[in-house]
């Protein structure tokens, strides 16, 4: 899932300081699971903003609405009849959700209340780890399911480097060396041959905005006016 964390309160407060009526919009999918921008977090943020603005002598009117997914126009439709009452939108969704809100309601300023941080996994409640950088050319088959692009601080394809320190990465003793783990797991599976060959330079496919149309949906896209 997409993992995000709420921005520092002062930063959020500053972003909306010129606005009197703000709608805080949560997202019920990834950011709700990672406890950053779901219905509960919308409520908490609004209470904090309300209090801060009251104390500052400039009260604010805040609305709260959480949609199923902000990254899906279908779910934004329910906001159409509400947003006109507000002079700014505060999105607690990931960057995709914020941008879709902005696209749907171009007349109203939209502000991000969270920092979208990574594609990660749920280690425990409230504990998430980055696992994927969406590089667009997955090598997890070669590396036995450990991502060198994400988990190796230097994103090496022919590691481990000389900085590996008894199984830790050179950047920090608490950070495991991804290539040490890759070596260990491939050895366990009897597949060390995988990394004896040189892995050629990567074809970075995440350097331009990407669009994917799955097979069979090209006609649908054309019908909707997409090129």
């Amino acid at each position: 899932m997409i993992v995000a964390e709420r921005k520092p309160f002062d930063e959020i407060k500053t972003m909306v300081q010129g606005y009197q009526k703000v709608l805080t919009i949560g997202c019920g999918t990834c950011v709700a699971v990672c406890l950053a921008g779901g219905e509960k977090e919308v409520g908490v943020l609004n209470k904090e903003l309300q209090l801060a603005r009251k104390m500052a002598g400039s009260p604010i009117t805040l609305g709260a609405h959480t949609v199923e997914r902000q990254c899906d126009m279908e779910f934004l439709e329910e906001l159409d009849s509400i947003v006109d009452e507000y002079d700014a939108l505060l999105s607690m969704a990931c960057g995709a959700g914020v941008q879709f809100l902005g696209e749907r309601f171009p007349n109203i300023p939209v502000f991000p209340a969270v920092d979208t941080t990574f594609i990660g996994a749920n280690r425990d409640v409230g504990w998430y780890e980055e696992k994927c950088r969406a590089c667009g050319s997955c090598v997890l088959g070669m590396t036995s399911g450990i991502c060198p692009v994400t988990m190796c601080a230097k994103g090496l394809f022919n590691g481990p480097c000389g900085g590996t320190n008894k199984g830790s990465c050179e950047i920090h003793a608490d950070q495991p060396c991804a290539w040490y783990q890759i070596h260990e797991r491939l050895a366990l599976q009897g597949r060390l041959d995988n990394i004896l060959e040189i892995c050629p330079p990567n074809d970075w496919r995440n350097q331009t905005p990407r669009t994917i149309v799955q097979p069979g949906y090209e006609e649908r896209k054309k019908a909707m006016g997409g090129k």
Partner: protein
């Protein structure tokens, strides 16, 4: 391949090579480079010019390499993968060769988090093994990584780094093999203190036939103090400093510690001269360039051969 590199000629002639190191200044101070270069002239075959080492901004390694040439040294131009993408690397390689640089050392580079710009974006577009392959392709095929022809390919003697002891230890010789397969002509190792581990790694490299394809220069660093030894043992990633080294330095009176450090280094060099599969020594006298003449003298590697 004839790169015109003196280091290459010395190694091919079967001489025991002796290389040094020079860290560029934290500024545009040309005199600083010249001062550091002086004690190295005539005492080493080539000098590694580091590339923003420890991820601290310094004078460009190609520029300091040119200053080294002016001082009568042959530079070994270090290039890391941390600060440049494949376009910048290839253009710097062309520029370096065009202006007389003949050796290149291909490195991953210390992570930017260690340096004075920890907020920077580490590039790592390609890794050190891929960089070796890229330089070889430019040189031997006369083609850029992207496939287009090069007008006047750079004839460089290609170096790589190797760490004989970082874990997983059994992987180390295979990583060397990958770098050799990618196109490394010579290898300089991390500073060696654990001689037992080094002997084993070289034996493995001999058994795999690697030492017939690549010249291995053993990395030697004289310890200046007990503090330095302890720091290297505990704080420098991938370093292996056995307790015996620290004990030996502790066993001499305080003002003789650095002398003992040089003595240890000279003993290592003597052993490397006799070690099958080792073609020379890379002396990393860290911020101790002025001691190089004395170390070279005591290690009996002078005079340097003329080729």
């Amino acid at each position: 391949m004839k790169s015109g590199s003196k280091l290459q000629k010395i190694l091919e002639a079967g001489h025991f090579a002796f290389t040094g190191e020079l860290g560029p200044p934290r500024g545009a101070n040309v005199e600083h480079v010249r001062e550091k270069a002086k004690p190295l002239v005539g005492n080493v075959d080539a000098v590694n010019i580091t590339d923003n080492q420890t991820a601290m901004v310094r004078m460009a390694s190609w520029a300091a390499s040119l200053l080294a040439i002016e001082e009568g040294l042959e530079p070994n131009f270090q290039m890391t993968c941390r600060d440049r993408n494949r376009l910048a690397m290839q253009s710097d390689i062309l520029g370096a060769y065009a202006l007389g640089i003949r050796n290149i050392l291909c490195l991953s580079g210390d992570h930017q988090q260690f340096g004075d710009h920890p907020q920077s974006k580490g590039v790592f577009d390609i890794d050190s093994t891929q960089l070796i392959g890229m330089v070889k392709k430019m040189r031997d095929e006369g083609k850029f990584l992207g496939g287009a022809d090069i007008d006047e390919p750079p004839q460089l003697f290609i170096g790589a780094a190797a760490n004989p002891f970082a874990e997983p230890v059994e992987w180390r010789v295979h990583r060397l093999a990958k770098k050799v397969a990618a196109g490394a002509d010579f290898v300089q190792t991390q500073c060696i203190f654990n001689m037992e581990r080094m002997r084993e790694w070289v034996r493995q490299a001999n058994d795999m036939g690697l030492t017939e394809k690549v010249y291995i220069l053993a990395g030697v660093t004289p310890m200046k103090s007990i503090g330095m030894a302890k720091y290297m043992a505990s704080k420098v990633p991938g370093m292996d400093v056995p307790d015996e080294i620290i004990k030996r330095l502790q066993g001499v009176e305080k003002k003789k510690v650095s002398d003992e450090g040089i003595k240890i280094a000279c003993e290592q060099i003597e052993e490397f001269k006799e070690m099958k599969g080792v073609a020379g020594v890379h002396l990393m006298a860290i911020e101790w360039e002025h001691k190089v003449p004395e170390i070279a003298e005591r290690a009996k590697v002078l005079p340097r051969p003329e080729v």
